[in-house]
């Protein structure tokens, strides 16, 4: 082929590119020390902070502030609320707001915005995942612009979880919440291409300590391997979520990896107690005995995964003392129980969302193999996210490989928010008046009492004996970054916070 022809071909390609290339698109700007570029695998769909999913979680701490924040030990620290106090009976909480806080549009934040944020999150049609917590707030008073009085009817632990998760939004422009991101946070939204990218700049009137990084760009990188390649190529500085396989690939390289939260997500097996043969308690017990939790933690959760028998965090383990070894791995006993129940050879179905979450699919396969060892033939129905949710919500399953969120929160918060632990309307079909009464007691008691301690013990015993849900291990949230990024902090749920981050 002659050079001139090659040149012509090259020009043709270039010409076609230029002719069609005037679409308005976000740009990748060359890296600078004050520019942080984030690659997001989740869908960047909106800036509504009540969604609190992986996609919005990354932008939430850029755009918004919550009233308080909880550290890893569960201790509350001031954020938009500079101080607070509970009444002696624990039923009234007075919050004093920081002075001089403004939204990105320049308007002063007031107690009315806090009240509106609570009302918004508590509106069923919003679909906020902190909705159950807002039900503990009976009334909100705003005596002046800087004070909020909450009349509460519930555990202080859950109230603190709520205040940590309740990001204050602009009450004047509620319809713009999805796309404007008008919060009080350290960064202001500059541009947003839904489902693709967003750009933020430091808010010059930010009320708190201003972060060192001046500009943040987020772009969606849906493919895990491609995201890793973009990090290696220097096109992004930070990946808020990576798989354990990706983390292993980066091990020994110059890139940093870490765990944002070891226990924000938990693997569990849900068992529908209304569907034979799982209507028999001994069959459910056999499933628990057949699952090797240590292996699941090591092989699926990976390094940092915590083995679980009961779902509570380290902070809540006091009430479960002595029950740590209540979930042994004993396939021989499991097989005997299956035989005793007359279920040997039964065909059962495992509902999984492995099409959306590969690790859940892997868990389903481990379950299938474990159940085969004890005489149950398991089939896997693997669905994508929304299809799984629809079937799961209608209890159309016998077994399900599942993952629950809020696993790093208080035990009361977990009982209220994760459907698999609900005392009422539980999709697993579990019904117990005693369990319901105990859950109501621990959720609604402002502080711990001897009565709540006894209720916790009964809750633990009921979970271990009824086996409708089998917590297995935590699913750590992992991140990766370029070597020049340091100082990124993480919330209890694994959402990054760049207030103290530095790019060297």
């Amino acid at each position: 082929m002659s050079l001139s022809r090659t040149l012509k071909r090259g020009l043709l390609v270039a010409g076609c590119a230029v002719a069609l290339g005037f679409a308005a698109t976000p740009s990748i700007t060359l890296a600078a020390s004050d520019l942080l570029r984030i690659g997001l695998q989740a869908d960047l769909s909106s800036f509504d902070p009540t969604r609190l999913n992986t996609g919005t979680g990354v932008t939430t701490n850029l755009l918004y502030n919550s009233l308080i924040y909880l550290d890893a030990g569960g201790t509350p620290h001031p954020e938009l609320a500079k101080s607070w106090s509970f009444s002696p009976d624990g039923r009234t909480l007075t919050l004093n707001l920081v002075d001089g806080v403004t939204f990105h549009d320049g308007r002063k934040m007031t107690s009315k915005d806090v009240a509106y944020s609570l009302e918004y999150a508590g509106t069923p049609a919003v679909g906020a995942n902190i909705l159950p917590f807002t039900k503990l707030i009976q009334q909100v008073d705003t005596p002046n612009d800087d004070t909020v009085v909450l009349h509460v009817n519930g555990s202080q632990r859950v109230i603190y979880d709520l205040l940590d998760l309740l990001y204050v939004i602009d009450s004047q422009h509620p319809k713009d919440i999805f796309t404007s991101g008008n919060g009080t946070g350290p960064y202001k939204l500059v541009s947003f291409d839904p489902g693709q990218s967003a750009e933020f700049v430091l808010y010059d009137k930010y009320w708190g300590q201003k972060p060192a990084i001046k500009r943040v760009e987020i772009k969606e990188l849906p493919d895990a391997q491609s995201a890793l390649a973009q990090l290696r190529a220097g096109a992004v500085d930070f990946l808020p979520t990576i798989t354990r396989e990706n983390a292993a690939q980066l091990a020994g390289s110059r890139f940093k990896t870490g765990i944002a939260s070891a226990d924000a997500l938990g693997f569990d097996v849900g068992i529908n107690v209304d569907k034979p043969p799982f209507d028999k308690p001994e069959v459910r017990k056999a499933v628990s005995l057949a699952l090797d939790r240590k292996r699941i933690a090591a092989e699926i959760g990976g390094p940092g995964s915590i083995v679980k028998c009961l779902p509570w965090t380290e902070l809540d383990k006091a009430d479960s003392a002595g029950l740590e070894d209540s979930c042994p791995y004993d396939p021989a006993q499991a097989k005997a129980l299956i035989a005793k129940a007359g279920a040997t050879g039964a065909t059962v179905e495992i509902l999984s969302s492995g099409q959306s979450a590969p690790e859940i699919g892997t868990l389903a396969q481990v379950m299938q193999s474990s159940l085969a060892q004890i005489g149950l033939n398991a089939r896997i129905t693997d669905l994508a996210g929304t299809a799984f949710v629809a079937q799961f919500r209608k209890s159309q399953f016998q077994l399900t490989s599942h993952s629950y969120g809020r696993a790093s929160r208080s035990a009361q918060a977990l009982l209220m928010s994760a459907v698999v632990f609900w005392a009422k309307g539980n999709v697993m079909g579990v019904k117990s008046q005693s369990y319901e009464d105990d859950v109501n007691l621990v959720v609604n008691s402002p502080t711990d009492t001897p009565e709540t301690a006894a209720a916790w013990k009964r809750i633990d015993q009921f979970m271990l004996s009824d086996n409708w849900v089998l917590p297995l291990a935590t699913n750590p949230i992992r991140w990766a970054s370029s070597p020049k990024l340091s100082g990124v902090a993480f919330s209890l749920d694994g959402a990054p916070n760049f207030d103290g981050a530095v790019l060297n």
């Binding site: 698109t25 069923p124 999805f178 390649a229």
Partner: protein, 319 residues
Amino acid sequence: MASYIIRRILQWIPILVLSSILMFAVVRAMPGDAADAIAGPDATPDVVAAVRAEYGLDRPLPVQYLAWISHFVRGDFGTSYIYHTDNAALIFSRIPNSLLLAVCALVLAILIGLPAGLYAAVRGGKLGDLIVSTATAAAIATPDFWFGIVAILLFAVTLNWLPPGGLISPTDDPVQFLLSLILPSFTLALHGAAVLARFTRSAVLETLGEDYVRTARAKGISPFRVLRRHVLRNALVPIVTITGIMLGRMLGGAVVIESVFAWPGVGRLLVQSISNRDYGVVQAILVLLVFFFLLLNLVVDLLYALIDPRIRVGGSVAE
């Protein structure tokens, strides 16, 4: 010609109406709806019902269809349940990017596939044919995502010659814009080029055996002239057909390429919207794709007449 085009366009109306009904029905038949996606698995039935009512998903399906189609034909594509932005703005911000990628990939596929296929046919059964056939078989068998990842690792990570992904605005940096096109265009073109090469080889081989080609050779016309005037021209009709189909596929079906290269195209938007049950976006994209295929078919039919004078548009084959 004009009356033929008008007649063809009028035929599109029932096709578009029927396809809109079919697509609406198929999309709504998927398990789970937007309320499930928005509320998540931990919502109570009351919350899901409230979300469903908020977005009008609790209305009977025929009512929902009529509401959607009556707005759609007036250019109002509705608002996304998930992105909360105007669907038309969302979709039309992606279509130019997809078109850009598809056209560049198609040009590359033609530039590579057509000569390769021609060469293989001319060298039929010899080493050159074997090499082209093996290479095209390998290209067809290679998954797009694998080739894309390897290309990123080689050209962006190791050699640092090209951007690893994303579309750079030509107004920001024209050179980087062109460079950002190379990897996704080549990756998307690879499969198309291989298909086109095999198709061209087959069409040309068939034509080479025709009597009129033998006659032309016997008349002492140079082999290049025989190939260009007698063989290629007659082989072009099926090649144009497959090229038209390829362009359609590259526009709407480049999902994997768009994901690997973080390309802001309409294919990934479609997949994300299907996953989120964002009905308005899915239905609008599908109807637009049907429209695009109809348009493409018309263009291909018109091209037939241009390539082969024996073919008359709107009538029968000329004597």
